[in-house]
Amino acid sequence: MNRNVELKNHQREIFYFRLRLVLSLGFVAVMLFILLARFFYLQIFRHDYFHTLGESNRIYVVPIVPNRGLLMDRNGVVMAQNYSGYTLEVTPSKVSNMDALITDLSKLVEITPKDIKRFQKLLSERQALETLPIRSQLSDDEVARVAAQRFRFPGVEIKARLFREYPFTDVTSHLIGYVGRINQNDIDQLEDDDSASNYLGSDYIGKTGIEQSYEQELHGTTGFEQVEVDASGRAVRVLSRTSPQSGNTLVLTLDAKLQQVAEEAFGDYRGALVAIDPANGEVLAFISKPGYDPSLFIDGIDTETWDELNNSPDTPLNNRALRGQYPPGSTFKPFMALTGLHFGTRSPSRTISDPGYYMLPGSRHQYRDWKAGGHGSVDMFKSIVISCDTYYYGLATELGIDNIYSYLSRFGFGKKTGIDMEGESSGLLPSAEWKMKRYKQAWYAGDTVSVGIGQGYNLVTPLQLAFATATLANDGVAFQPHLIKEIRRSRGEPLLTESRQLFDLQIDPEHMKLVKSAMEAVTKPGGTAAGAGAGAPYRMAGKTGTAQVVAMKQGEKYDAKRLSEYNRDHAWFIAFAPADKPRIALAVLAENGGHGGTTAAPIARKVLDYYLLGKLPKPLQTVSEKAGAEND
């Protein structure tokens, strides 16, 4: 009995146990189903997502920055190039105590206070995660020292990079400009142009001059490398590579030696010179003096040097050739003469009697000639040769401002020339309409009088005046002034810049002949530039000019000695040669140089001598000699 009960209990026990075992089995089945569902979810439904995550884990796209295109002059002389060197760079986001780091680093490599100031300026403008150079052009010794100690400096690295170099430094600074570090403005601009992706990894972009205006040609196409990396970010292997395409080499229309000759011809004068080939608009020389050392700007300039440059009374950062606006003075007269001939206002042979001043009918105000007592009897030819003011006071009055404006604006006065460089000024050719708009005043007859001799409201840029001179030299057929002769692509045929004719004024050949022969006589004995023209073995045509900086009171006499240097008149000279078949036309401005004939014209003569005869005023230093001399 007892045993029976026990057996029963035992069977019941087994039954309940097996029931619970089956329940456990059910639990296991449910859990397994959950796992299976999870595997299906991860490996089928979300496979693409996780595949992408896995790929982005291991694949990095590393941009390969293309080599920037070179710049060379028309004869193949290099004007901007790249050289490889080492920089010491710091990633500020990885550095906790920047001052301590700089102190420690300066024990290994020389870091000047200027470097630190420059670095701090970069630091204040930096973008997140950017690395900033603290020292460039490390010597091999310095590289080795830093490399050995690098573990001590997280966030510090040595980078091998290509640096931009401008062999002609300040001689070509305003023409070529410079590259500088890409800033937020540049990034916004690149994003607007949809070219930001091409600048991945790039640190530099053209900021001014040709470097800026031809940025697209010079930059090249960024290459990419797909790299497989491990979890610590170390590259394991290269998966694919798209090579970068170097920027295009630009061949300038410029003649580097001519540029150097012109720059040296200025001596200590500030000023500008633009020389153009009248037959095709090629710019042969482009000077704005003083220049500056463009390499200062490449990795950011320190505040002190910047202030020094920016506040200098010589304004070395001002591109005078492109942006400087000055009254043309008497260089305006040949153009006025052509205007008079065009409208038939004055026949060439008509003479006036010059008492040394001009008075408007019904007025007692005397407009003085530069020569007290006057030039006596003056016809058009003589008016140019001796630069008679009285002749042009009268001519302007007879023409009226409307005629002057309508004809001379066709020469390009008051308009940008459209040269391939950014930031050009348009100068000013006044008109009655302009004066009303600008000053809310009617045009007075007196306004016209001073326009006749290139004073008054008139303003030109040296480039504009050179362009007008080239147009005149080319008998009224104007070509677009341009700086680039040829674009040599890293692949494909070189692209030659075609000379583009802008307009043909269809000037009567007789008119042309008269004005040109008068301009030629300017450089002959009796002319205002006789000294500068003396002994020239080619036919040189020109016109002097003087631009007032401060206005003279009625009856006051101009005395250079009494005026401070910066208030003295600017000296102008325009020229072309050979007069019968011009190969070069130019405009020279010597700021505060006084008379055009004595300061500006000799500069032009040296330029013409070199260009036409290959004659050097003195042996030119080579670029390396010049660099060496500067370091002494």
Binding site: S24, V28, M31, R38, L42, I44, F50, H51, R58, A231
Partner: protein
């Protein structure tokens, strides 16, 4: 003189060939996978081979034990385990990675909690067997205490993974021993109800840690990194996998702990969903065999023990795969029979040795 056949029969007498074949399969998978997971490091592979050999020897020894020997071992093992766990709290305990789990016994360091994986269910099963005739609520209470005491010590170390596995192995004993549904449901309700109160008792950093366990993406580079990289490995494996030795997550070091706790991610990445189904199949096979042995076990003690061993083995596998695939928090549980490691291999093989002993000695006990 025995001939070879006799020798083989003698050797295999107490082994279950079905289970043995499956375990051999796991050993093969472990070695092949470790070769890939360790980037072809033969030291690791041969080390694991050593672990496997030791494990099989232990299995053979235990399988050949009489069951009453096992029962006799229950109390001393449990007491020894508790003493060692207490010693971990003394200066003899070795701290590593912020947890004190090891004990320095001079010649080596041992992890007493591993011993408890066997000792706790063994002790509980022994206790229920002892009181089989007169089971009352009091016995379940005492058994629960036997379970909670070591768990309390192990949580303190802290070692969440081992605590969970020991808790599971003890709970299975309680469940199979017939713990009333009312008590189980009552405890569960009480646990859920007290959760908000316990939550309010926690420090901020403790709460943060728990939240991190629940949502690893909160800390993608810190604690969440393991889970995220594991999920990427599993998910990017797709249906067919990237192929043996071709897992990018594995071979480019993105997967952490890939020879130990995250070895399943390596398998998943290289063999895909198909591989996962095969591996799950192998686990299901072993668990199924375990259930059959349990169902046929002859005594109360062996039923409880076999059931607990089988279900714990499953729990092991489930928790590991669940944590690698991101449905469970990362708690530090290796993939049973595959992850590199001697201790877990030995514990598991001891368990399977007991299963075989239970299987082959059932008739002996009955008589």
């Amino acid at each position: 003189m025995m001939n070879a056949l006799q020798l083989k029969q003698r050797f295999m007498r107490n082994l279950d060939p079905v289970l043995l074949a499956a375990l051999g399969g796991f050993a093969l998978v472990s070695l092949v996978l470790l070769y890939s997971a360790s980037d072809g490091n033969w030291v690791r592979v041969l080390g694991q081979l050593g672990n496997i050999v030791v494990g099989f020897v232990a299995l053979w020894v235990v399988a050949n034990m009489q069951l009453h020997w096992l029962m006799r071992a229950a109390v001393p093992m449990y007491v020894l385990g508790m003493i060692l766990l207490l010693l971990v709290l003394t200066p003899l305990g070795v701290n590593s990675h912020g947890a004190t789990r090891w004990l320095n016994i001079g010649v080596a360091t041992i992890q007493p909690s591993e011993l408890m994986k066997i000792a706790v269910p063994l002790m509980m099963a022994w206790y229920f067997e002892k009181n089989e005739a007169t089971l009352t609520l009091k016995n379940y209470f005492v058994a629960t205490l036997l379970l909670l005491m070591p768990i309390g010590l192990i949580i303190k170390q802290p070692d969440l993974g081992t605590s969970i596995l020991i808790w599971a192995s003890g709970f299975y004993v309680l469940f199979l021993a017939g713990l009333s549904w009312r008590i189980m449901i009552g405890s569960a309700v009480a646990a859920v109800a007290s959760a908000p109160f316990l939550w309010s008792m926690l420090h901020d950093y403790q709460r943060h840690r728990i939240l991190m366990l629940l949502d690893p993406s909160q800390d993608a580079l810190g604690k969440g990194y393991h889970t995220i990289q594991g999920m990427i490995a599993v998910g990017s494996g797709g249906i067919l996998g990237k192929g043996y030795l071709n897992g990018t997550q594995t071979h480019l070091d993105f997967l952490p702990e890939r020879t130990t706790d995250f070895i399943f991610a390596v398998w998943s990445e290289e063999f895909g969903l198909i591989g996962n189904l095969l591996l799950l199949g192998l686990y299901v096979f072993v668990i199924g065999r375990g259930f059959i042995i349990t169902a046929n076990a002859s005594t109360y003690f062996t039923r409880l023990m076999a059931g607990s061993i089988t279900l714990t083995f499953f729990t092991y596998a489930f928790v590991n795969m669940g944590m690698v695939s991101g449905i469970l928090p990362v708690v530090g549980v290796p993939l049973p029979l595959i992850s590199y490691g001697g201790t877990s291999m030995l514990t598991l093989m001891l368990g399977f040795g007991m299963l075989m002993s239970i299987h082959t000695h059932k008739k002996l006990v009955k008589t």
